[in-house]
């Protein structure tokens, strides 16, 4: 019998249509993944099942949990179901826990609020579930506060809260999106194990098709509030019916062909770079400790080469990026571009700066909202001794906007008139406008939907051919780095543990950490389409 049955669910919020005739079934012990790009309505579907919709939401259709319709139930009954019959795991473990309460109290709260058992027993149960999710009380006492745990550990606490009363249905909304790839693999294993052990149904919301393909028994693909295709995982992968599904899978595994790089001639030389941060003192008069974010890193980037830098959060790749850009001085070693140091004395060297540009991750935070595009993309002209003016300037703006796939007319617009993908194009235009020798891409496609990401990757490949780009591509996403770079470096705890030809590293990793990374990264299965 079905555990959860969503039938023709339509939803509008303040009149805007969010979901259209969504239907889904979940059986006990089954994992159903709902996937799609941003704005597809997948998260709203999850919230609708929990009946935790934002104000002004009007739902129509039916959501049946074990045969009982949840829509239009009185709030008191819904509260009795939430946490007991249904549990939910959220995307952002860093903020999903109350910072001023201990993890023990927060797990026990699920039990106590439903008056399921007396306090002492609830405590024992909390210890039991925390142990089950991998946080045994001898190492993680109930008196810990969330800020004392890592992101992955916090997500385990959230899972413990959700399963404390053995709910029939677990809903996980992008449960691993905010986590590193190795942690993601562990959390996914945990979820799979729990489903098997408790015979729960799992409704898993994720944008990551590789995760979907590896986890789910059934898949539903959503676009703009509609389920465009659904089916058993194996069938669906073998035989995709809807063009959108096909496009989505193709874009996820999108490969580009880079032009051949010229013979090696060093451009950027990083030698023995050290960057340390002071940690707060321990005790009243203790000596402050230092954290080496970047630990004696050396590498060379050749002219015309596309170099990747991968690593998990906190490995020091952002710090290294800032040091290369000359935003922060280093404590040891040197960074030289074209034989000139990035820092002279303690001041950034303008002669070097004008040879470098950067594209950041966040398409929304990368631009001053008060300036027009023309002013935004010409900001690097500040680095030139004689920046172009008048019609020459107009021509450069038009040329750049055209090169990144926008039109010259866009120069007069403000940034909020553009989508995320268009903004990233504008960021690339800004980086290209002074024809730098080197561009740093700092997680430049990480915030984008897969279809947009594929387009930006294509654009990069085209620009490589047109402008002979040399770049350093910093990313946590192995699949992207694999296709967009010639050579790759793997960073762990401030050090570069392995570097080499991209193909070589991925097919035959030498360092154990590299191997762990590649192993943990979920991969798209063969889909019957020609993606490689």
């Amino acid at each position: 019998m079905t555990l959860l049955q969503i039938e023709n669910l339509s939803l509008s919020i303040h009149g805007a249509e969010i979901l259209k005739q969504v239907s889904l079934d979940i059986a006990p012990g089954q994992i159903v993944a709902v996937t799609g790009e941003s704005g597809s309505g997948k998260s709203m579907t999850a919230l609708a099942v929990m009946q935790l919709l934002p104000n002004g939401a009007v739902a129509d259709g039916a959501i049946r949990l074990q045969g009982q319709d949840l829509l239009n139930r009185p709030e008191a009954e819904l509260c009795a179901l939430r946490g007991a019959a249904t549990g939910m795991v959220f995307q952002e473990p860093m903020t999903a826990l109350n910072p001023v309460k201990t993890i023990g109290d927060q797990v026990m709260e699920t039990i106590l609020i439903h008056k399921a058992m007396p306090r002492a027993q609830a405590r024992a149960r909390a210890q039991e579930v925390l142990t089950r999710v991998g946080l045994p009380p001898d190492r993680f006492p109930l008196s810990r506060y969330p800020h004392e745990l890592s992101g992955g550990q916090r997500q385990r606490v959230v899972i413990a809260m959700a399963i404390a009363l053995r709910p029939k249905l677990l809903i996980a909304d992008e449960p691993t999106t905010a986590l590193d790839v190795t942690t993601q693999a562990q959390i996914l294993d945990l979820l799979k194990g729990l489903v098997r052990e408790y015979d729960m149904g799992l409704l898993m919301i994720t944008h990551d098709l590789a995760v979907v393909a590896n986890m789910a028994d059934r898949i539903a693909v959503m676009r703009q509030g509609e389920v465009v295709e659904s089916g058993a995982t194996g069938d669906l992968l073998r035989d995709m019916q809807h063009p959108y599904t096909r496009m989505l899978f193709a874009a996820s595994g999108h490969q580009v062909t880079l032009p051949l790089s010229p013979p090696p001639r060093p451009l950027l030389e990083v030698a023995q770079v050290v960057r340390t941060y002071r940690l707060p003192r321990k005790g009243l008069f203790g000596k402050p400790d230092h954290h080496r974010a970047v630990d004696r890193v050396s590498f060379t980037l050749n002219r015309g080469e596309r170099l990747g830098l991968v690593g998990e959060s906190g490995c020091g790749k952002s710090t290294l990026t800032r040091a290369i850009l000359g935003l922060d001085d280093v404590q040891g070693g040197s960074v030289q571009l074209d034989g000139q140091p990035v820092f002279t004395g303690h001041r950034p060297n303008p002669a070097v700066r004008r040879k470098m540009q950067v594209v950041f991750q966040d398409p929304y935070g990368s631009f001053n909202p008060r300036h027009r595009v023309a002013r935004l993309i010409t900001e690097p002209f500040h680095l030139l001794d004689a920046p172009p003016t008048g019609s020459e300037r107009q021509d450069r703006i038009a040329e750049m906007l055209t090169a990144v796939g926008l039109g010259p007319d866009d120069a007069g617009k403000y940034i909020h008139e553009f989508s995320g993908g268009q903004r990233q194009r504008i960021a690339i235009a800004r980086a290209l406008i002074i024809r730098p020798e080197l561009i740093l891409f700092d997680e430049a496609v990480s915030a984008l939907d897969v279809s947009v990401r594929a387009q930006i990757l294509d654009l990069l490949a085209d620009l490589c051919a047109a402008y002979d780009l040399t770049y350093l591509f910093i990313s946590h996403d192995l699949s992207v780095v694999r296709t967009i770079t010639d050579r790759v470096m793997v960073m762990q705890a401030g050090q570069i543990v392995e570097q080499g030809e991209t193909g070589q590293i991925f097919s035959d990793p030498q360092h154990p950490y590299t191997r762990a990374l590649i192993e943990a990264a979920p991969t798209l299965p063969e889909t019957g389409m020609n993606v490689a």
Binding site: R82, T95, A96, N98, P99, I113, L284
Partner: protein, 315 residues
């Protein structure tokens, strides 16, 4: 935690030293010599010199500063130029009016503001919220001394529930003392309560948007339960800041309100001292007020740590 408290304590001491230097320096540049002011224009030069020696005015500025601070540390605030009595005694007498008044008002304001703010947040956008918000909007705009006058007009002159002014004194019993401080405390508290209630509400509403509130709801807590169990304590963090700031406003406000009710508090003392150019009294009262504000802010910093475990463990 210990390190945090220690750091705050050091910064408290530095603030006190700098504040005392500032106050001393400002009073020092005062034109005119207290001795000649006290004795009038016709005073003999040797009488003046004798008085200066008696008042301790005949030594270097640095020495006088050290004497002043050193004296305060042992409770000796010097001698009033006009009354020739110890300033510490004058302050001690008046303090028993001003301090209870400020505390009374602080308690009233908190008792009104917390429930009002939480109530409004719980009923966001509904008539109850709009009423509370309208009332606070008005409350912020009302000058407390004018409000005090209106209270006198209504409750003292027309209804005769309270005396229009004066202080019964604590020796007539706690009730008599509190009774004569009630109207002043209400006048002080309501405008502050309006501000506090608004801060409480907006701080709670910010918290309501946090992810962990949604987590709490997903566990099966009702909206109210989530608000009380997870919202209020987190919302307290910004509210504490305002509470600390309000104490200084209440102290200052008390000085003005004392004028309305003819209360023999620090306010009366300081205005009398200003008109008599009794600068040592002004200096000492100001130092005391500043000391109180700095100390309260120190306590607020410690209270943060009690509320927020992240602060406790940072060092």
């Amino acid at each position: 935690m210990l390190r945090y408290a220690f750091k705050r304590l050091i910064s408290l001491l530095i603030s006190l030293v700098v504040a005392s230097v500032v106050i001393f320096a400002v009073i020092e540049v005062a034109p005119g010599d207290p001795a000649s002011f006290m004795l009038g224009v016709n005073a003999q030069e040797d009488t003046l010199a004798a008085l200066r020696a008696e008042l301790g005015l005949d030594v270097s500025n640095a020495q006088r500063y050290l004497d002043w601070v050193g004296g305060m540390l042992v409770g000796d605030f010097g001698t009033s130029y006009t009354y020739r009595t110890p300033v510490s005694q004058m302050i001690a007498d008046r303090m028993w009016v001003s301090l209870p008044l400020a505390l009374y008002a602080l308690i009233l304001s908190t008792l009104i503001a917390f429930p009002a703010g939480i109530y409004a947040a719980a009923r966001r956008g509904k008539p109850g919220d709009l009423t509370v918000m309208g009332a606070t909007q008005l409350g912020i705009a009302v000058p407390n001394f004018w409000f005090a006058m209106m209270l006198v007009l209504i409750f003292a002159i027309n209804l005769r529930w309270f005396n229009a002014g004066g202080f019964a004194g604590w020796n007539k019993g706690l009730w008599a003392g509190l009774h004569s401080l009630t109207l002043p405390a209400i006048a002080l508290a309501l405008p502050q309560a309006a501000i506090l209630a608004r801060v409480m509400r907006s701080s709670l509403l910010d918290i309501l948007g946090e992810d962990f509130m949604r987590t709490a709801r997903a566990k099966g807590l009702t909206y109210r339960q989530a608000l009380w169990r997870h919202g209020v304590r987190n919302a307290l963090i910004p509210v504490l800041t305002i509470l600390g700031l309000q104490f200084s406003f209440l102290l200052a406000g008390a000085i003005i309100i004392e004028q309305v009710f003819y209360l023999p508090g620090l306010g009366r003392l300081v205005f009398q001292a200003i008109s008599a150019r009794d600068l040592i009294v002004v200096e000492s009262v100001v130092m005391l007020l500043v000391f109180a504000v700095i100390t309260v802010n120190f306590l607020v910093d410690l209270a943060y740590a009690a509320v927020d475990p992240r602060l406790r463990s940072r060092t």
